[in-house]
Structures are given as C-alpha cells and as structure tokens.
C-alpha cells in the first residue's frame, strides 16, 4: 500500500500550534493575564431567533412519519434554492435557475472539492495573500509541484501579488493559466473588488478559456456601493466563473454548516458541462446538507431575520471601525474592515509577521494571525478578526487607547 505522496510535501502547519505555545508560556509567568483572541475568524454573536425557531420546527417535522424527511433531493431543497435565486441573485438582475445552485455543507468543502473536476495538469493561479484551502487542496492532488522554503511558494502555482502598491487588487496573470481562485471581499486583507477590476479577470478568463473560482463568502459585509456582490455582475461571467457562497459569516452558521455553489449551465470546456460534472461528483460523494439546516437557511431570508443579521453585520463592522481608529491613532497602517470583518495590519517597523505578532501579543496580549500564514505577501502583516465578542473588543479598545 502506498499513500498519496503529496501530503509529505506540506510544511508542518505550526501556526496555531506555535501561537498556542506562546500563549501557554505567557500564562505560566502571567497567570492572571486576560488574553484577547482576535485570531480565528469565527463569529461570536448567537443565531437570530427566527433561525432557531426554524430549526426547532424542522426537528418537529422529523417526529412524525407524514412529515419526516430522509435523503433530500440532489442539489438541495427547492424551498431553499428558490429563496437564494430570488434574494441573492434576482434582486441584482442576475437570472439563474434551480439547477445552477448546489447546496453544500459550507464553502470550505466546496472550495476544496471543486478541484476534483480539474485535469491533473491544469495551471493554477492564486492571489497572494490567499485563503489556504485553494492551495492545499491542489497540493494534495499533486498540482502544486514542490515547495520552496526560501520564496515560500510552490513551483507550479502562479502567484498574483496583492499588496500596498496595487491596493491589494492584483493584476491579471501575464501568462496563460487554466484556473484562477479569487476571493472578494478578501480574507485576509478585508478588501472588496469593483466592477472594472473584476471585469478584467472575467475578460482574461473568457479570452484564455480559463475558469474563475470566485469565493464570495464575505459578500454580505459589503458597504461600499461600487463593490461587487457577485461575479455575475460582470459581463460574460457565466461563461467562465463559478461562485461560492456561505451562510457561515453572513448568518452565523459556522457551527451549523451551510453554503452553496453556483455553476451556470452554460459553463463548459471542450464541450463538457461543468454543471453536469459537479452534479455527478456530488451524487457520488455527498448526500446533501441536513434537512434541518437547510430549513435554517431558508429562515435566513425572512424579513425579521434579515433585520437581525444586518444588525449583526453592522456590529462587527462597527468593531472594525473602532479598532481601526484606535490602531491608526497609534500611528499604524490598517487596511480592510470597511467591506469585510478583517483588519489587515502592517508592522510599523518592517518586522516579519511573527515578530509583529510577538510585539502585539507582548504589549497588548492580543492574539492575531501572522500574515505569513496567507502567503509571502503576508509578511509584515497580521490579520485581526473583528468577529470577537463585545467584551473582547471593549477591552481591546481600552488597551489600545490608554
């Protein structure tokens, strides 16, 4: 028996282990310390009442034979898909049909599994900094080549630089690639994208027969009018792009697990329909999201719940605004936080991201995520999650401003 050889190419992922060790060591000498965790991007505000009621009613359905739901329909329940089509797309003038939506257990699975449809030898481009799933899932499939510890990049991947010089919106590739992973609003930089910038990628993809995997998990956080909520707001995107959406951050579903992928029926390569391939992939490898959780997803679109969720999002964005203000008051350069719940904070001293992490931790007892976890362009940065609880944010503001 031989195991997949590509797993051994990973550098051991010590980021969270190292952070944990640093925190534990600090606690040894400072047992009373109140450490503020702004590292992991998990929501802190509870579910909206309308969502909990929907779950409890759906659970009641499962008590009686007449209303019991076993295996659900392939692709998801119509009661959820119809709400998505109307509320997430039709209101933006985007016409999709029911077969173009695939309900899933979240965007992490979708973002990782989509590469099942790619040929082994496709050329893949990622924006650096990146959400690690795009790269790691392709490393496991053998598409990334070898890792270079010095450049901290994989030999066969194309990296599109997103940094201060281009306001964190990268250029299109200057060579021919097959797949481009894009993520706006972006994790970790917190930047959204406007139509001109995204249209350039769509045009590139259509001209070069490429596929765009557009991860819009943070779409609900967009406040700036010019920023795009969906890649299908660009002309011709249905011919070259799939879109990933999640209920995790927009509705607090990190613990419920629900998301969806849009695959337009007209999307095809060499006459093969991507939609049909994914339908076959899902029929073979997935038995759907829970009926109860899909009912929770449908409740997200009710008016009272929408109001609750908008309040939650405003709350997180207010956190971002206040923390950003306090950090800027200390003379720091802070990006993001306007259309996404993340601050992308630059070291004032050109430190490595780990040195910057240490500085912030030692001075303020803040846990951040070192930017190097998101790629070479993350050096000199840390990411701060604004999903933290009110208690944490209030205490943080006191420490930063005293």
């Amino acid at each position: 028996m031989r195991l997949n050889p590509h797993f051994s190419k990973f550098q051991e992922d010590y980021v969270y282990v190292t952070i944990q060790e640093k925190v534990e060591a600090f606690k040894q000498t400072n047992p009373q310390a109140n450490i503020l965790d702004l590292g992991i991007g998990d929501v802190s505000r509870p579910l909206a009442p309308g969502i909990v009621t929907a779950i409890q009613q759906a659970a009641d359905d499962q008590l009686k034979m007449e209303t019991f739901h076993g295996y659900g329909p392939k692709g998801g329940y119509s009661f959820l898909i119809e709400k998505i089509l109307t509320n997430d797309y039709l209101d933006k003038g985007i016409h999709l049909n029911e077969k173009e939506i695939f309900i899933s257990d979240g965007s992490k699975s979708d973002g990782a599994h989509i590469q099942d449809l790619f040929d082994d030898n496709v050329k893949i481009a990622v924006v650096d900094p990146f959400y690690p799933v795009y790269i790691d899932s392709n490393v496991m499939a053998g598409r990334a080549g070898e890792y270079d510890c010095k450049t901290r990049r994989w030999s066969q991947l194309i990296y599109l630089d997103a940094n201060e010089s281009n306001d964190f919106i990268s250029d299109i590739p200057n060579e021919v690639v097959d797949v481009i992973y894009l993520n706006y609003p972006n994790n970790p930089t917190g930047k959204a994208i406007n139509k001109d910038d995204l249209q350039r990628f769509v045009n590139y993809a259509n001209e070069n027969n490429a596929l765009i995997v557009f991860d819009a998990a943070y779409e609900a956080f967009i406040q700036t009018d010019a920023m795009l909520h969906s890649i299908y707001e660009c002309d011709g995107a249905k011919k070259c792009a799939i879109e990933l959406k999640s209920f995790s951050k927009s509705a607090g579903f990190t613990g419920l697990r629900l998301g969806y992928m849009v695959i337009p029926e007209e999307l095809a390569y060499d006459g093969q329909s991507l939609n049909q391939l994914w339908a076959r992939r899902e029929a073979t490898k997935f038995n759907g999201a829970s009926y109860i959780i899909q009912k929770a997803g449908a409740a997200v679109y009710e008016a009272a719940t929408q109001k609750n969720l908008r309040e939650n999002i405003q709350h997180y964005l207010t956190n971002a605004k206040r923390v950003k203000g306090a950090l800027e008051g200390l003379g720091m350069q802070v990006y993001g936080g306007e259309d996404a719940p993340y601050l992308w904070l630059k070291s004032p001293k050109e430190q490595s991201s780990w040195e910057f992490f240490d500085d912030l931790f030692n001075k303020y007892q803040i846990i951040s995520t070192p930017g190097s976890a998101y790629g070479a362009n993350g050096e000199q940065f840390v990411r701060l999650s604004m999903f933290a609880s009110d208690t944490v944010i209030t205490e943080l503001l006191q420490r930063l401003t005293k």
Copy 2:
C-alpha cells in the same frame, strides 16, 4: 482549461432515470395504480423523541452568546466521541482513543473521500456486488482504468466474486492488492460476516501490507450472534483496517447527516500515519458536522432512545422476515434480511435483473433496484429495501399472498 478526463469514462447512470420512465409510462395507462417503492434504501420511521429534544435544546444553545457554538473541534466534539468509544467499542472489548474517531457528515462522504489518501497507482479490490461509491470515487481519481461494456468491469480493478456458490462471502484476492473495500452487513446482499471469514481478510491485509476499508453502516441490524459488529473484533485489524460507521440507518439520520470513521493510530504505511494524513485532509477540506447534529448523535446513546431505535430496527427486520416468507411462499429464492434491512431476491427464471425488475413491477407494481446496479454479480437479482413504510409493506404482503 482541461477538465478531469475520468468523468467521461462513466456509463451514464440510467438506473433511476429508467425506473422513473417505466413508472411514468405505467401510470399513463394505469392512473389509479398504487405503486410500492422498495427501491431506494431510505428509512421511513421518524426520529426518536429523545433525538428531536436534543436537537431543540442544542438549537436553544445557539440563541445565547454564552452557549453559542461556532466552529467545532477538529475531529468532532468530545461529548459525542466519548459515547462512541464507550458504547460502540469498549462494550465489545475494543479499546480506541479519542483521536482515532473522526466525526463526519456520513459514510457516503467518508467512503468517497478516503481515496484522497491513496497513491494514484494503488491496486484496488472490491467485492462484487458492491456499493457503487467505492468504485465511482476511484474512477474519478483515475484508478479504475477503462470500462468494458461486455464484462461490465473496470480494467484496473480486482473484483472478488460474492454469489450463491460462496454464500455471498468472497475469497481473499489471489494476487497482491493495496486496498480492499469490504461492507458487512452488506448492501445489497444483506449478508453479514463471521469472524473466520473476516479474519482471513485481515490476515491477508497484514501479510500483504494492504489496507481494508470496512464499511459497517448496517452494523446495528446484526441479530446473529456469530456475526461481527466491528472489524476490530479480528486479531491484528488495527494494523490494517479503517472502519466506517453511520447514524443514517441505525438511528434514522439519513436526513440529518452524521457518521464517523475509525482510523487507529498504529495504522501506517512506509512510516506514514494514516490517522495523521486524514487529520490533515479533514483540516483542509472539511469544517466538521453541525454542532446541533452532533448533539443529536450523542442523544442516540441515551437508554430511552436506544430502546426506541431497537424497536425501529426490529420493525424493519420484521418487515424483512414477513416479506421474505411471502416471497418464499411463491417459490422464490431470497437472501439477506436477517442481519440487514435488504432482501436479495433471485429471479426464478434466470432473467436479467432488468427483466426481473419488469416482471415484479408488472405483476405486483413493486419498484425494486435491479441487481446490475451493484455489479456483474447482481445479474438475475433485485434488491428490495425493507425500510419502506408500514402502509407499503402491508399492501405488499397482501399482493404477494393473495
């Protein structure tokens, strides 16, 4: 952009489409017909009350910040894993630790995803008839070779025949293979396996450095004392086997989505720990099963719920016994149904499985699943699911015995 070329090797999966067409055609000329669906293996009895209560309480937890649960721990919540270790293994004298259990959204995903850990060129053996996921997931990864329409087998797979001549328990491979998928109690034959028979596979795997993927999704249905509930009842199995378990059929979770995989820490190939590889795979591609659904899983082990679930299982097995008796009364040869909820019914006229399907449908208006859907050894057979509702079973018995 080039898509995965292996998807085009699939024969179009017309089984359920064809069945649907036959049913629709029949309804055109017989609009009043009461058609009895014994095809799909989905449960019909509702959830036990203790499970629904657990879901509703867990949903209440999600209403308050202090008890809200976002992302769960990697591998699953301890409150569930501890119950699994105690109730599913320790009671059989099998000692496992918490790190050896990986909670998932079901055995279909696990059975399909485990091949992520295999080298591209491993030699794979399946028992024919088979649960299609084992083969299809490897076809997509390019390990199956080419499909031969005449033999109805893939060129690079090794098929282990399970038929009447060996009482549906195949021999071990007569050549060296790397991976063997085993499924007992078996879908579709309904047969369980005893220690002597399974130990031969374990010994083979240990002697040949092979891996056994043991799918025990129907374990809760075993009634015969000599039949094994877990592969770890065999000597040396922790060195060569992983085990898949599901709450779908044992607790009616087909619509909730929960299962788990056991990967012993001592399982290693070329010094690489399979457990560590899977942990890395899951951290990259999966964000866990829903907190609420894991709470439902924990409730399965409560005494009152266990009593409800045993009653459900007895109910399905009583269906099986009565239907088997009625079919035997018609002179038919019927296998399975004692330790699993499926009957494996042989055509009395050496028909193809589709001809047999047609006969049963035209005579009794029963929908079965043609055995050919499960491999070449499924010819001359159909599978009947005994998960059908009481109404369906009662009507079926009337038709068979009148």
